[in-house]
């Protein structure tokens, strides 16, 4: 990245903060009632300029539905025009300061960032943009990208009436209106689906029966009609809140944030009361309930849960929710609070309910949320190699990260030299893309922030779904790289089609991963390939006699996490764990086991054996790997240990297929 570009990107990030501020100020100045709708869009254009269309859409959406959020923004509009000149002036002064700040941030991001930046080719022809838009007007996503780019080339003071812009362009079409309009209908469905999440007194165990499986799950806002006065709301098993340090609600999993203002203020009061005493509040326990607090600068995150999850797990979940917020906004949102303590952040996150609810849902089924590792789709070594090779090609041309995924599993990924991607960032990014319906319908170019990579700066993600399940994400530091990335995608897609990677992916989806019933019973019969379903006889495996009892020695399930690869593999659920409720319970048991093994003060422990009424659980932590295995509660200890050894051997035998090996960018 040239110095010029560096400074421009730095100043654009400073613009972003500067520009948002006026709206914050105005939010403070005026009440919610003041609405200046006509200026609103201009304001949005400004406010979001460096942030992409996404937020513009959100503003639009708010206006379409009601005057709710829109009003806030609208009122900002007028003032922002005024303030903007001030800001413009100020940026003269601040420019160096803030810009410098930005540059520092860039450096903070690591050498990788800087180095890679140098390779980023920048497409700058506005004409091309225009023609693309016309040519592919039917693909709203593209339009977005281009629209967005056009916005970026405009000066700060230049304002455009964008309300005719395609609503789906943001990657938020799916959840459009979910916070209000759609929510009411969604909540009807939710009522049915999640009703049993309300604890019945005396029938606690009956709660959650079979509701939370991935397929049953309905995305979006939960129970928007409820507030803290509703009994049903109080009985929800798990609440998540984001609020500002002035007590303004930002997000609530259940219920309407605006109605929860009083409750939010209470949470804030509790946190600051303890802070004023020179301490920091972490946890309050009451009967089956835990209230977990996480303070991140001006942002407070709170979880209220009566699930049996340990404190460490719930705290980790709050960290991820915060990370998801940073992914959407970057940490520079803190500056808004520095300038205006009463800043209302809800409009900035408007429409992202679905991203958070999907993340929260993953806390009850996705082991990546507590293992801090990612998982790969099982594929033949050659197939993954083929995918990796083409991604590597692209990465060499200035892409920071090229990630090919199928649902939540990685097919292959490649990073530019020295750049490493944290598994938590992958989880949050995949959740962001997977939960937003519009990413599926169009190619998109969206600013995102990887909180573990650099929480202060935006990267730009080109996202394209290659089929219903598989999608490609190309990440770059350059805001102008859309057409280059589009070209890359075309090249990649062509190669993937030619080499049948995508059809292999579909087949792997059908076959599933490791089945405990296939665990080789005789260690001498090395089962070098993973899937006996595909051209492998079942000799030496347990499958035939195993109907209903899982694998050998009562093995029901296992998770193997490779420490140095930062990857894990989770077996398919055996027939003993067919119901979603059983699966969720096992997931929670693993979560507890993980927390207990990784105690901050004294861990990690080496081995743990645990027998309760539901399972025998065995955990084995070594410097190379961690194994978590679940057995029938009556399983024999000695047999279980032997079986664990065989599982480890089996995983090693098929590691070529289940892990992404030798991924060069991972140099940690």
């Amino acid at each position: 990245m040239s110095a010029e570009e560096l400074s421009s990107s730095a100043s654009s990030s400073s613009d972003e903060t500067l520009e948002r501020d006026p709206s914050f100020k105005s939010a403070e100045g005026g009440g919610v009632d003041e609405r200046l709708g006509s200026v609103r869009l201009e304001d949005e254009g400004d406010v979001e300029e460096s942030r992409s269309d996404r937020v513009e859409d959100r503003g639009g959406e708010a206006v379409v539905e009601s005057n709710g959020h829109g009003g806030d923004e609208g009122e900002c509009g007028e003032e922002s025009l005024v303030v903007e000149t001030e800001v413009g002036d100020a940026s003269g002064d601040l420019g160096s300061g803030v810009g410098g700040d930005g540059a520092v941030v860039e450096r903070d991001a690591g050498e990788g960032d800087g180095d890679d930046g140098g390779d980023v080719p920048v497409l700058k022809t506005a004409e091309v943009v225009g023609s693309e838009v016309v040519g592919e007007g039917s693909r709203p996503g593209l339009e977005v990208g281009s629209e967005w780019r056009r916005n970026r080339t405009r000066s700060n003071s230049e304002i455009e009436m964008d309300d005719e812009q395609s609503p789906s362009s943001s990657g938020y079409a799916g959840e459009r209106g979910s916070s209000n309009g759609a929510a009411s209908s969604a909540s009807d469905i939710n009522e049915i689906v999640e009703d049993d999440e309300i604890r019945e007194v005396g029938d606690v165990d009956g709660a959650n029966g079979g509701i939370d499986s991935q397929s049953d799950w309905v995305p979006g806002k939960r129970h928007a009609d409820e507030d803290d006065a509703s009994i049903s709301w109080r009985k929800r098993k798990k609440h998540f809140f984001i609020l500002s340090n002035s007590g303004k609600p930002i997000y609530s999993r259940h219920g309407d944030e605006h109605k929860l203002a009083g409750f939010s203020a209470t949470l804030q009061a509790i946190v600051s009361f303890v802070e004023n005493g020179g301490d920091r509040l972490n946890l309050v326990r009451a009967g089956k309930h835990q209230v977990i607090f996480l303070v991140k600068g001006p942002i407070y995150l709170v979880c209220i849960s009566c699930t049996e999850e340990p404190y460490e797990s719930l705290k980790g979940q709050l960290e991820l929710i915060y990370g998801q917020m940073i992914l959407i906004l970057t940490k520079s949102v803190n500056r808004c609070f520095e300038r205006n303590a009463k800043f209302d952040m809800t409009p900035l996150l408007g429409g992202t309910d679905i991203v958070f609810s999907s993340l929260i849902h993953s806390f009850s089924w996705n082991p990546a949320t507590f293992l801090h590792a990612y998982t790969c789709l099982p594929l033949a070594y050659a197939t993954r190699q083929a995918a990796g090779a083409i991604l590597q090609d692209v990465a060499d041309s200035g892409v920071l990260f090229a990630i090919l995924m199928c649902r939540h599993k990685v097919i292959s990924l490649v990073g530019a030299q020295k750049a490493s991607l944290h598994p938590d960032d992958m989880l949050l990014l995949a959740n962001f893309v997977m939960s937003s319906e519009s990413f599926r319908t169009s190619e998109s170019f969206s600013p995102i922030c990887l909180p573990r990579y650099n929480p202060m700066a935006f990267l730009y993600a080109y996202v394209n779904f290659l089929d219903a399940d598989s999608y490609l994400m190309l990440l770059t530091t350059s805001s102008d790289a859309f057409y280059h990335l589009k070209d890359c995608r075309i090249r990649i897609e062509t190669v993937l089609l030619k080499s049948n990677v995508l059809s292999e992916v579909q087949r792997s989806l059908l076959d599933g991963g490791m089945h405990v019933e296939d665990l080789p019973t005789d260690p001498s019969l090395k089962n070098r390939t993973l899937s006996p379903r595909v051209g492998h006889d079942s000799q030496g495996t347990f499958r035939e006699s195993a109907a209903g009892i899982g694998g050998p020695s009562g093995l029901w399930h296992f998770i193997y996490r490779s420490i140095y690869l930062d990857q894990y593999v989770s077996s398919e659920f055996s027939s003993c764990l067919r119901s979603p409720r059983q699966q969720k319970r096992l997931y929670r048991a693993y979560q507890k086991l993980f927390a207990s093994m990784h105690d901050k003060g004294i861990g990690p422990h080496k081995t743990q054996f645990r027998r309760d009424e539901n399972y025998v659980l065995l955990c084995w932590v070594t410097p190379d790997f961690e194994l978590y295995a679940a057995f029938d509660p009556l399983a024999d200890k000695g047999q279980a240990i032997k079986t664990c050894n065989r599982v480890c051997q089996w995983v090693k035998d098929v590691e070529n297929e289940i892990f992404l090996l030798g991924a060069s960018p991972f140099s940690w």
Binding site: F273, A286, G287, R610, D612, E613
Partner: protein
């Protein structure tokens, strides 16, 4: 040693007792506070503590009406809550400090609060009843003040209060420790109990017999047994009464009790006596200041019964009043008799002794006449069979066995537990914390269901840390010199279970 000795040492501990029904109006919040330690804390600090506590009690009730705030964990402090009586809360705030070994188990701290309240209630009656008797709160404040300060002195080691920390993970407060006796001795004890209760000549009469610091027999309600046993260990047993003799009981950890200095309570500022009333023992209102936990106050009297002037002197006479205690809502005379290592406590309902001290003297006389030979015999028998303070040591094991049904526990002798490394004890402390959570949770889910659980952890230092819950019993164990396999550790537990727990934790 005056009570102020305790005040000065402790910035790392706060204890607060407050009544949510008092001080409802703004400006009257101080009226809620019945006790605060350290006593000379500024009112602003006291108000801040009850403010937060009350706030969180109210807040948690939104979601958890059946059980409000139990613990607050902050970076630097833990706040442990215990609702002693409806709307009367005790809160303990301890400072966390890894360096200073201030690593606690919440449940262990809560049991301290529970013990304070149970003992207080045994001697003074319930806090609510005292408040009803004197609504201005002076009586309850002065009673709580002297009582808790006396109690805390037992935790004083040097200039520091040693609350139960991770080093005490192989102990269980609120349980009794039993002496194992042979069949023959058991029959004799049984016969002694019958003789005593028969010779008391009153319709109901209870007894509690201890040998050294161990319980031999009790005919009391289990709850009363625990309270009286605890009190006996703290103040009545031969160890408690002989200054300088080292006790192995964890209840008597501090040196405070072993160097008793009779003195009046000194208070460090006038505001304290304003709040808590006059604390001088020579005060005229003996009820407001009597201090059942004051150390060094029990002695052998002219008859072999133990005497104390804690309960004051008989009107117009020089002899002491007989102590009384509330057991299951009934006021009882408490007569303690000691012969060598044997301590016998006799409890007689006040209502059944018509002529007060005279009646008591008659009963004592009667009991001695009928039972003294048996007492000698039983003491002799128990002494012979007694294996010393390491009697319950099992080589290779460091363990704690808790029998929930009998409220009894047995553990490796503290002297042996100190050989364990800090890492092992920390790991055990954490494991016990997890088990506590699971037990509490199971209790909420289904109070009648037994938790069955087996957890074996091989810690970073290669020690096996084990918890087993089965059939209402709990076993916690640390095996430091065990072979590295899980099977070896399981086998060791199995052997222990078969040999010492009647197979309670064995698989079949």
């Amino acid at each position: 040693m005056g009570l102020s000795a305790v005040d000065n040492v402790s910035e790392e501990l706060q204890i607060c007792i407050f009544d949510l029904r008092r001080g409802q109006y703004e400006g009257q919040e101080l009226d809620k506070i019945l006790f605060f330690f350290p006593v000379d804390s500024p009112f602003s600090v006291q108000l801040s503590v009850i403010g937060l506590s009350e706030g969180l009690i109210t807040f948690t009730r939104i979601f958890s009406p059946e059980a409000s705030c139990e613990v607050i964990e902050a970076d630097k402090h833990s706040h442990v809550f215990y609702e002693a009586e409806p709307d009367i809360w005790t809160v303990m705030i301890v400072m966390k400090d890894k360096e200073l070994e201030a690593v606690w188990r919440t449940e262990a701290l809560r049991k301290v609060l529970k013990e304070i309240h149970s003992l207080f209630k045994m001697f003074h009656g319930s806090i609510r009843s005292l408040l009803e008797r004197e609504p201005d709160g002076r009586l309850i404040r002065s009673s709580l003040f002297s009582f808790i300060m006396d109690y805390l002195k037992d935790f004083l080691v040097g200039k520091k209060l040693h609350l139960p920390s991770f080093r005490d993970s192989l102990q269980e407060r609120g349980t009794v420790q039993m002496l194992t006796v042979g069949r023959e001795a058991a029959i004799e004890v049984q016969s002694l109990v019958k003789t005593i209760e028969a010779s008391a000549g009153v319709p109901t009469c209870y007894s509690l017999i201890l040998f050294q610091d161990l319980l031999v027999s009790s005919t009391l309600h289990p709850e009363d047994t625990i309270n009286l046993f605890t009190y006996a260990i703290l103040r009545l047993s031969p160890h408690a009464m002989s200054p300088g003799v080292r006790s192995w009981s964890y209840l008597r950890k501090g040196s405070g009790a072993t160097h008793p200095t009779v003195g009046t309570v000194s208070t460090s500022s006038s505001s304290i006596s304003d709040v808590y009333g006059s604390l001088s023992t020579s005060g005229t209102d003996r009820n407001s200041t009597f201090r059942p936990l004051q150390s060094g106050k029990w002695a052998r009297g002219k008859d072999p019964f133990l005497t104390t002037d804690i309960w004051g002197l008989e009107d117009g006479a020089s002899s002491s009043r007989t102590p009384t205690a509330w057991l299951q809502e009934e006021k009882m005379y408490l007569c303690a008799y000691q012969h060598k290592s044997l301590t016998l406590i006799l409890l007689l309902p006040v209502s059944s002794i018509s002529n007060g001290e005279q009646g008591i003297t008659a009963v004592k006389h009667q009991v001695l006449e009928n039972a003294s030979v048996k007492i000698l015999k039983v003491e002799e028998k128990l002494s012979k069979g007694w294996g010393g303070e390491n009697a319950y040591h099992v080589a290779g094991y460091r363990y704690l066995l808790v029998d929930g049904d009998r409220h009894a526990s047995r553990a490796s002798p503290p002297g042996k537990v100190t050989t364990l490394t800090k890492e092992s004890l920390l790991a055990l402390n954490t494991l016990r914390e997890q088990v506590d959570l699971e037990k509490n949770r199971a209790k909420w889910d289904d109070p009648h269901k037994e938790t069955n659980l087996e957890v074996s952890i091989r810690a970073k230092n290669n020690a096996w840390v084990i918890a087993r819950l089965a059939r209402g019993k709990e076993l916690y164990m640390v095996l430091e010199k065990a072979n590295e396999t899980l099977l070896y550790a399981s086998d060791a537990v199995e052997k222990f279970s078969n040999k010492y727990c009647n197979g309670a934790f064995s698989l079949d």
